[in-house]
Structure formats: structure tokens, C-alpha cells
Amino acid sequence: MATNYANDPSIPHDERLFRRIHLTHLVESDGGKAEVSSAAFRKIDLSVNLEGVMTSAGRLPDDALRNHPDDLLMSVTAGICRNHGQQVGPDPIPEEPAHGYVFGKKSRTTRRALRDAAKWVVPKEPPPYDQICDRKKQLGIGGRDAEALD
């Protein structure tokens, strides 16, 4: 992992940064919709995939999920992150050459702003929460309906 989290100005403001979303970070919102929790954008050193590096390697965005088939994928632009005081840079690692970071302390307002600015990539639209809930239950990682406790 990177130890020097400088901002890399060669990454354009409109470059998409892909972040995998674990199913536990999807919560129920009004109207039965699924909404991603701001907790998904909380880490100081937030790992992402850089679209430019993926594209140069002939990889499509959904390849970011190749080892994480149960995750979903969202994107934020480098410019949005920088506008909220974050440093954006590359950090290639053996298992992910397109790995990068969005580095900086993220206040609750910043987390919310990043969450609100994030766009769905896989799937293209926010999934119904019922689907997410069913999948969570299948995986044993939560679900809305209580079941009998011992």
C-alpha cells in the first residue's frame, strides 16, 4: 500500500474511480429502494480502481469485481474527491495494477457528499432493496426479517 499519499495531477478531474460496494453497505431507503451507506466512503485511505489504468489495459469497469462477484460497483470522479479535500493517486499492487487511493480525513459531510455523488456502475441502476435483502440472507450477512433466535 502507498505510504506517500500525494495528489497526482495527471489523473484528470473527470476520471472515474471505481469502488466496490459490499452488500452489507446497502441499506433500505424510502420507497423500497436500496441506498449505499456513507460508511462505504469512510476510510481515510479509500481504495479504488483507476478507470484510466483499466482502460489502458483493455479492461472494462466490471472487471473490478472479478474476484468479488457478490459486490456491486459504484464510481466517483477524481474531481469530486478533490473538491472535498481528498488526494487522488495511483497505488498499483500485485493483485490489482489499477489500484489507487482517495486519501484524506472524511468528515460525515464529506462521506455523505461522496456517497451522494457516486454513480452506479454494476448494476446501472440502484437495485430494489428486496433483492439486496434476499441476497444478504442467502449469504448469511443480514436481512430485514427477524428469524427465531435460540
Binding site: R20, T24, A39, R42, K43, G140, A146
Partner: protein, 157 residues
């Protein structure tokens, strides 16, 4: 699965003493006055505990980004707070793991949003309330804001 008591030893019936300041809980207190050995269990409690228990099973690196396992003592801390500030008929929160081993509970209902964060990394629990399509937002430390949290949660019913 672990039993109720094994998994969450902090949960005892002593947590469910009547809340004299709440209309709902006053009703419960009145009704249980004749049956003092059976305090009412809030409707939100069982689904919330189920969520916590499920998330406690997540392994190290559950998100593929190096996240820590959820800490049981943080879960207990969260449950103790919820018991303090939630009426019996409050809606259950969504329970979300934090990458540092902490937990966040949150509600998004009727255009109102409340997040209560219990970090594992030494920070004090905090809350963040905001409304959609509005400038209204408020954040602070949980320990100084029980009254606010009660009001916010009541507004989510």
C-alpha cells in the same frame, strides 16, 4: 447460532425498565404494572439483534479491502444506546459494519436520515442527522445528545 444470552450478555431484562418520559413506554409501564415480571420487549429489538449477530460472523477482510472483524464490545455499546433512546415502537435501524471493526446504525425514512457511528478506533460515538432537499443537518457526540437522538428517532416512525 449462539444463544441470545451468550452472544449479547449485556442484554438483560433490566435494560427494559419503563421510560417514564415517553408516552409509549408509559403505556407499557402501566400495562406491566400488573405483570412486573414480563417487561415488554421492543419490536425493533429482535431484527436488530439478528442483524448484529449476522455481521459478527463476518470474517477478517470481509470487504476485500482489509476490513477488521466487528468487535463484540462495540455491538454491546450500540445496543445499550439504542435501548436508552428508542421507544418500543421505533423502526429498526439498518446495521452496517465499519471497516475498523466498529458499527453504524442508520435510518432513512420520510426524507429524514440519522446515522449513529460507533468506531472501534478510539473515537467517541457520534451521530449525524440530515434531511433530504434541505439544509437541515446536525452532528455531534452521542454522549451529549440523548435527548436529540430520542427526538430524531421518534420522527422516523
Amino acid at each position: 447460532m449462539a444463544t441470545y444470552a451468550q452472544a449479547l450478555p449485556a442484554l438483560t431484562t433490566s435494560l427494559f425498565r419503563p421510560k417514564w418520559g415517553s408516552g409509549v413506554s408509559n403505556a407499557v409501564a402501566f400495562s406491566t404494572a400488573s405483570y412486573p415480571s414480563e417487561p415488554a420487549v421492543p419490536a425493533w429489538l429482535q431484527p436488530t439483534i439478528k442483524s448484529f449477530l449476522d455481521l459478527l460472523q463476518l470474517p477478517q477482510n470481509w470487504d476485500g479491502y482489509g476490513a477488521s472483524q466487528m468487535h463484540e464490545q462495540i455491538v454491546q455499546q450500540a445496543l445499550l444506546l439504542l435501548v436508552k433512546v428508542m421507544d418500543n415502537d421505533a423502526p429498526p435501524p439498518s446495521v452496517v459494519p465499519l471497516s475498523d471493526g466498529g458499527v453504524q446504525v442508520e435510518w432513512h425514512r420520510h426524507g429524514r436520515n440519522l446515522e449513529i457511528e460507533f468506531p472501534a478506533a478510539g473515537e467517541a460515538p457520534g451521530f449525524y442527522y440530515y434531511e433530504d432537499n434541505s439544509e437541515t443537518e446536525c452532528e455531534g457526540q452521542v454522549s451529549k445528545s440523548y435527548d436529540h437522538l430520542q427526538t430524531y428517532i421518534a420522527s422516523l416512525k
